[in-house]
């Protein structure tokens, strides 16, 4: 536990001292949303709810890949070796995941705010939508952290990150988009309960696997 706390603190401090990473990601999300807004160039009126929903999640997906893809990037190899001598692999992956979740929540909710301002917000059931956004961000962040760990061992090119993560992410993303659409249409939450449970189950699978598999990954 102490290791995890120390690791998270380290991640946050590192982020705070050079804000380039988080600022970069936020700017990435914002400018993508702005480009989308300019491309549709119609405020709220002409964009159908399905397009609104899909566009939002695609923007979130790409922001997530960019944000979380960095989580193992900034560590130089000698520093990595140092971390590994002072803490256990489980502590490292868990703290990376928690850090990733925090970043992802910031990006997702800020992104939603800007997106709503520019492209309108047709969501009817706000609570379910937020809940879904929360669970979805957690899921994307944990899965992508693990994939980022794998990609970082394989030369860390961004193409590999996308190739490896898309197939793994898609099932979760489909569930998220469906729940999100249900929330937009104001359909009762009990209708989306199946999907939410599947997302949670997928999250549980991913976290368990990451805990089991990560120790094999970092030991060279």
């Amino acid at each position: 536990m102490a290791h995890i706390k120390a690791n998270i603190k380290k991640e946050l401090l590192q982020e705070w001292r050079n804000k380039s990473a988080i600022n970069g990601v936020l700017l990435y999300t914002t400018s993508t949303i702005f480009v989308a807004y300019l491309a549709f160039s119609i405020r709220g009126s002409g964009i159908s709810p399905i397009v609104w929903n899909t566009l939002f999640w695609i923007i979130i997906l790409f922001s997530a890949i960019n944000a979380i893809g960095k989580s193992f990037l900034q560590e130089g190899s000698d520093r990595t070796i140092y971390y590994y001598t002072v803490s256990s692999p489980q502590a490292i992956i868990i703290s990376k995941m928690i850090y990733g979740v925090l970043v992802m929540l910031l990006v997702a909710f800020l992104g939603l705010g800007i997106y709503s301002v520019l492209l309108g917000n047709p969501v009817q059931d706000q609570f379910t939508f937020f809940l879904n956004l929360f669970i979805g961000s957690v899921g994307l962040a944990t899965a992508l952290t693990m994939i980022s760990g794998i990609a970082s061992k394989a030369g860390n090119n961004s193409m590999l990150m996308a190739i490896l993560s898309f197939p793994v992410i898609i099932p979760m993303l489909l569930m998220i988009i469906k729940t999100s659409k249900n929330a937009m249409d104001g359909i009762a939450m009990s209708e989306s309960l199946d999907e939410i449970l599947v997302i949670l189950a997928l999250n549980a699978i991913i976290i368990t696997l990451a805990l089991l598999l990560f120790p094999y990954l970092w030991r060279n």
Partner: protein
């Protein structure tokens, strides 16, 4: 792996597949509307998916074995089973598309199971790209084994849970009658079960051959290194 050299199961494979092909085309089948004679595709399309899942399962088993033992031999098993599994997956998709053309009217109708299987294949293509991106043999084996296990665990919910949550044209999903509606017919069952065993064994046979080729190549390389 001495058993792979044994002859009996190869003979069994040949006999089963001969029976599948001859019996699958000639034995009587139930007359069902729309499906008509295309129901015979059951003996070729569905076993491909069964074979694929079984081979991917074996591949993951060896990936776990590799991670716990660190023997490169296990990695060779793992990757070759994954290769043949992917081959069966592609064949399953192609046979499915032909069947779909005649029954659903379109090669690709966006059916959740079709999409899910396409994503499933993408996972394994990504696995091969990942292997290609790493030079060091040990690193390659370790990292790709980790991805193999990780990807397989996410493939399972994809193939088995997702289609059941949405409407699907496939039997047994989204309110369509399950396979039992056809399987109740003993004519089909007589060929179908044996076809699954036959095609799967053929996949295993392919994989063992590829493993042996890899093994021989390695030995040749070692020899050349020793001479140089």
């Amino acid at each position: 792996m001495a058993w792979t050299r044994k002859k009996w199961w190869k003979v069994l494979t040949a006999v089963l597949l001969l029976y599948t092909v001859v019996g699958g085309f000639l034995l009587p089948v139930p007359r069902l509307p729309i499906l008509n004679e295309t129901i015979r595709a059951l003996h070729f399309h569905v076993p491909m998916w069964f074979g694929m899942i079984i081979l991917f399962g074996i591949s993951v088993f060896h990936a776990i074995q590799f991670l716990s033992s660190g023997k490169l031999e296990q990695d060779s098993f793992s990757t070759n089973y994954a290769k043949i599994g992917t081959l069966l997956g592609i064949l399953g998709m192609l046979t499915g598309m032909v069947w779909a053309k005649f029954t659903w009217g379109e090669m690709w109708s966006g059916d959740p199971k079709q999409n899910a299987s396409a994503i499933g294949l993408l996972i394994y293509f990504a696995y091969f790209v990942l292997r290609g991106a790493i030079d060091d043999e040990n690193q390659k084996a370790k990292i790709s084994s980790v991805y193999n296990v990780f990807a397989f665990a996410t493939l399972i919910p994809l193939l088995f849970i997702l289609p059941r949550l949405t409407d699907s044209l496939h039997p047994g999903n989204g309110g369509n009658p399950g396979f039992n509606a056809y399987d109740l017919d003993n004519d089909l069952r007589k060929v179908f079960y044996l076809a699954i065993i036959g095609w799967t064994l053929l996949g295993v046979w392919f994989a063992t051959l590829k493993i042996r080729i890899d093994h021989i190549n390695e030995k040749i390389e070692d020899k050349e290194m020793a001479h140089a």
